[in-house]
Symmetry: D2
Subunit: 341 residues, 4 copies
Amino acid sequence: MVKVAILGAGRIAQIHAKSAFLNTQCELKLIADPWKEGVDKLATELNCEAGYDYYEAINRDDIDAVVIATATDLHIDLMLHAVKCKKPVLCEKPIDLDFARSISAVQEIQSRHGQVMLAFNRRFDEDTMAIKNAILNNEIGEIRQVIITSRDPGMPAVEYMKSSGGIFKDMTIHDFDAARHLLGEEPVEIFATASRLVDEKLATINDYDTCSITLKTKSGKQCIINNCREAVYGYDQRIEVLGSQGLLKTQNHRPSTLKKYTRDTTASQQPLLNFFLERYIGSYRTEFNVFVSCLVEKQAFPTNLFDGLQALYLAVCAMESVESNKAIRINPEGPSKYFTL
Amino acid sequence: MVKVAILGAGRIAQIHAKSAFLNTQCELKLIADPWKEGVDKLATELNCEAGYDYYEAINRDDIDAVVIATATDLHIDLMLHAVKCKKPVLCEKPIDLDFARSISAVQEIQSRHGQVMLAFNRRFDEDTMAIKNAILNNEIGEIRQVIITSRDPGMPAVEYMKSSGGIFKDMTIHDFDAARHLLGEEPVEIFATASRLVDEKLATINDYDTCSITLKTKSGKQCIINNCREAVYGYDQRIEVLGSQGLLKTQNHRPSTLKKYTRDTTASQQPLLNFFLERYIGSYRTEFNVFVSCLVEKQAFPTNLFDGLQALYLAVCAMESVESNKAIRINPEGPSKYFTL
Amino acid sequence: MVKVAILGAGRIAQIHAKSAFLNTQCELKLIADPWKEGVDKLATELNCEAGYDYYEAINRDDIDAVVIATATDLHIDLMLHAVKCKKPVLCEKPIDLDFARSISAVQEIQSRHGQVMLAFNRRFDEDTMAIKNAILNNEIGEIRQVIITSRDPGMPAVEYMKSSGGIFKDMTIHDFDAARHLLGEEPVEIFATASRLVDEKLATINDYDTCSITLKTKSGKQCIINNCREAVYGYDQRIEVLGSQGLLKTQNHRPSTLKKYTRDTTASQQPLLNFFLERYIGSYRTEFNVFVSCLVEKQAFPTNLFDGLQALYLAVCAMESVESNKAIRINPEGPSKYFTL
Amino acid sequence: MVKVAILGAGRIAQIHAKSAFLNTQCELKLIADPWKEGVDKLATELNCEAGYDYYEAINRDDIDAVVIATATDLHIDLMLHAVKCKKPVLCEKPIDLDFARSISAVQEIQSRHGQVMLAFNRRFDEDTMAIKNAILNNEIGEIRQVIITSRDPGMPAVEYMKSSGGIFKDMTIHDFDAARHLLGEEPVEIFATASRLVDEKLATINDYDTCSITLKTKSGKQCIINNCREAVYGYDQRIEVLGSQGLLKTQNHRPSTLKKYTRDTTASQQPLLNFFLERYIGSYRTEFNVFVSCLVEKQAFPTNLFDGLQALYLAVCAMESVESNKAIRINPEGPSKYFTL
C-alpha cells in the first residue's frame, strides 16, 4: 500500500487527493498546505491527516510518495527536496516558468536519479488514449497531419495571466505535449502567429489571446495548433490525425447525449462541459492511478521531466517565432543535449 | 453517517457495495451473503465486514439501512424482515415474479409504514434525467409520443431465461417504468406483439425474444417500446419523446468519442458500451447516492413499491395481450385499488 | 424518344412536368388540365404544348405515355382510358379512396394487360434505396424489426382532411408501402391505435392526428409505424431496420450541413427540409426517370397496382383495428385473391 | 433569353453545358471545341450546335455570352477576345499560371471595361453560402479564426501535376479564395510549410503534396488551411469559423444519410462523395445560374478578376514562404496597386 501525501489544497490538489482516496492500491495519508483552512476542510472530508508544511510532509518516514500540486514557483524546490529524500513524485506542469532554471533542475534531478512523473494529464484522457492506441495499432498508417483545437471558454483574470508565463507556457503547453505525443517524432521547426482579438489590453503584459501554430518534424509530418482564450460556446477540445491510411477525430464532451428539436433550434445539444476540471476529471483520475500503479509494479513513468522540458522549449520557441515572424529551427540537441533521462 | 449493509455479493451487489464505499455520507459496514468466497473477497477489497446470513445482517443494531441485491425470490422476505426491523431498504427490481404475491407484500409493507426505495436505476441515468428535466421544464410542450428502443447485445443463457419470468418481466420491465416516468400519466391500454426471431426454441419455455408494445394513456398519449434480446452491434438504449413544441432524443454511449475514416469504413465509431453494467454504471451510483441522501434529508424516495407493482402489472397485461391478440384495458384502479402509497 | 403528356397542372404535376423536361430519354409534349391559367403558365415555362382536356390528351397519336397527377377521384377513369388506348401510365397514389372500387379497377386493368406504374415515389429516395440495397446485399442478415417515423410539419387545412380519406389512406399509406418494401414479406396482422392530440375537432370528421401502428409478418418480423400530423421542428422522416447481423438507420435532411455553436444553442443545425416537395424532390425525379427507362428498355415497373391495393388494404385494416381495439388478421389472399399482377 | 456558347468540351465544360441546358433564363446555343468527337457527342446529347473553333464561337452575332472552360493557357486570350467583342464571360479559374501575365491581362480587360465573372464555384456551394450568410447575419460576431480543411482523395497523374503550377496554384487556390471570402478582410501575412509525404518523387518537379498555411489580416484575424493530395477516406472538405459570439462548422457530404451498425463497424456511414465533380455539382449549377441572372438583371458579378488575382498572389507568396521559411508580408497595395476593378 503506497502511502501518499498531497502537497497543496487548491483545486488541482483536491482532485489528486480525491483520486488517492478512491485508489485501492494506495492510502491517502496526508494533505499539506500552509493554507490551514483549506487543508483542514479537505482532510476532514477525505478522512486523512492535515499538515501545514510542505517540507515536513516530504520528510515523514510514513510517506512513500508525494504529489506536488502547489503554486508553480515551488515546483522545483519541492521536487528537489523529494528527490533528495528518495521519494517518488507526481508533479503538476509546468516544471517552472523559467526555462534555464528548469533545465538546471532537471539536470540535478537526473544526476540524483530522481523519480518524477510530470502531470500531463491529457495523455490519460479516454479520447487521447483511444486516438494514440489507434495510431500505435497502425490503423491509419503513417501520420501526416495532426490538428489540435484547444479553446478556453473564457479569459482568465488579468492577475492570473500576469503570472501565467503567457499563453504558450500556460495554455498551449498542453497542446505542445499532445503534439509530441501524437506525432511520435520530435518537431524540428515551429511557426507561431498570435493576435489580441479578445482583449487588446493584453498588449500591456505582452500576452496574446488567439494563436495559430505550425510544427514540422524532420520527416515532414505537420501539426497545427489553434488556440483562443475565449470560445463562448464552451471549452473546445478536439484532435484530428490524418494518416496515410485514414483519419482519426475526437469530439467534444457534453453532460448528456440529449438532442432537442424545436421550432427554432433544430438538433441542439447540451452545452459542452465547460472547463478542464469537468472535461478532464477522468484523465486526472487515470493519471494518478497510473502513477501509483507504476510505483507498485516498478515501471517507468509514461510522462517524465524530459516531456516537461520539451513542451516548455516549444513554448519559448513559439514566442521567438511570434517576435521574429519567422519559422524557428528547433535544435533536436536542443535543451536536451545537456542530459538524457 | 448512515451505516449500510449490502445483502448479496453478486454483480449488482458489488456495484452497490462500491457505491457505498465511495459515498461520503454513509459508511459501508457490512456485506452479507451465504456465498462465503464471494463475500470475503468483496469485503476485503472494500475494507468492511463480511457476514454470511442476510437476516442477521438486517438485525444488527449498528446497521441503519440495507440494500437488497440477492436472488429475486428472496426480495419479499428480506424486505418484510427489514421493514419489521424499521430499517429503510433499497431493493433491486422486481419485487417478485409473482404478481399476486407482490401485491400482498406491498400491502403488508404499506400497513407497516415501511420505507422502501425500488431500484429502477435507469431513472437516474444522466440521459433519462436530462430528458425528464426538459419535459418538466416544458421545453417540448405536451407529450404526444414516447419511443423507447431497448435491445440487449445477446441472448442470456437458457437457464437464466427459464427463471426470469419471461421477456416482459425481465427485460421490458425497465421500459415499462421508463414509459410511466416519461409519459407522466398512467397507461390505460396496452397492446403487445411478440416473436421468436433469435431462437425458436424459446417456444419450449413460452418465452419470446423480439417484441413491439404500444401503450396509451387516458388523454391519448402513446408510447411504443421495441425490444430484442439480440442486437449484434451492442446494447441499444435510446429514448425519443415527441411533444407539441418539439422532440427530445437520447443516443447510445461509447467508450470514447473517437471516429475513424478509412478507405473501407467511413466515420466508424467505437462499439457501444456493451451491456447494462457498463452503460448504466453512472445511474447505479446516482441511485445509491439518492437513496442515502433521502435518508439523511428525510425525504420521500423518488421510486417506490407502487412503481414496482405498476411495472409488473404492465408486464402481466403485455403477456395477456400477446395471448389474446387484443389491446388490454388497464384498470387504473388496477392492482392499485388495494392500497395507496 | 418517349413522348409524354402530363395530366394535371398542380404541384405534383409540376414536378413530373419538370422531370420530363429534364429527362433526355423523353420529350415533354403536352401538359393538360382544364385549369387554363395554370396549364398555360407551366407549358410556357417548359416550352411544350398546353391542353385543356385529359381524355383528348390521352387520345393523341403523338403521345406515347401519360402521367396522371390529377385529383384522386379521376385516377381510375383516366387510368382505364389510357389502358384502353394502350398508353402506359405513371399514376399518382392512391388508386382511389374507395377500396372496393379500386379492386374492380385493378381487375379490369389487369384483364386488359394495362401497363401502370403506381407512384410510390419514396421507394426512389436515395436513403430508402440505400437501405433497401443494404438489405438485399445481406449486410444486416434477416430482418427483425422495421421502425418508420413519419411526421408532418403541420396539420393540413380541414377542407383537405375532409376529403383525404383519413390519416391512414392519406398519410400512413406511404409508410405502409415502405413497410412492405422493406420487410420483404407481406404483413399478416395489424394493430393500430390513434389519438387526437393536435386538434380535438378532428372527431367531427372521424379522423385522427397521431397514431402508432404495429405490423407482423407470417415469420414474425415486426414493423412499427409512428405518425403525427404536426411536428413543429419540421418534416420528420426516418427509417430504422434491425436485422440479425446489424442495424440500418437513415436520418433527416437539411438544406446544408452547417452547425452552429453559440452561448445558448450548442451544435444547432439548420431546420429540416420542411415538407415532402423539398424532402422528396430527388425521389420524384428518380421515379419519373425509372418510369421512362422501363418503357425504353421494356422492363416491368418496380411499383405497380398491386402495391397500390395492398397499401390501401392496410389502411382499411388499420381503421378497423382502431375501431375494434384488436389486432386485425390480414388475409394474405386478401384483396389479392381476386387477381394476380 | 441569353444565348450562350460553351468553349470547351471537357469535364468542366460538360457541367457548364448541362447547367445552360437546364437554366430556363438562357438558351444553350453552341458548344465549341477543336476536339470534334467530344463536342459532337455533347452537342447531340444537349440538343445544340457544335462548333470547332473558339474564336468563331465568340464572334457569332447570335451568341450573347461565353463560358471559358478550355485549357488554362487559353484563358487569357479567349477572355481578351470576348471582351473585345463585348461579350460577358464566365471564365474558369485560374486566370493563368503566370502571375505577371495575369496582372497585365486583368489591366487590359479592366481598361476595356470587360465583364468577367471568375469561376470560384465553391462560393456557391450550399454549405459555404450558409456559413457566409451566418457571418453576414452577425450570428457569431467578429471573426477570429477560419480553419479550412481541403484534401483530395488521391494524387493526380504526374503529367497533370507537371503543368498544374504546383499545389498552391492548383489546389490551395480554392482555399485562398474561400479564406478571403470568409475572413471578409484581406490577409496581410502568409506562412506556409510543405512536405512530400505521399510521394517523394514530387521533388523532381519542385512540388509538394501536404501543406499547412497560416494567413493573418491587418486586424489579427487568422486563417489556417491544411491540404493533402491524398486522403484515402475520400474528398475531405470542411470549413470552421470561430467568432466572438460562436462557432460555425460544415461537414462532408455523402450519397445518402444511411448509417450501419454491425458487429464490427458501428455507425459507419457511406463513403464521402469522392471528388469535386460529385461534391460540388450543386455549386457549379448555382454559379452558372448566378452568372445568367446577373446578366439578365444587369448586376455586378459576385466573383471577379480581382478575386482571381488575389488568390494567385497568395499562391505565389505561399511558395515564397516555403522557400524562405519566413512569414511573407503581403502588400495590400500588392498586385492590386496596378488597377481597380
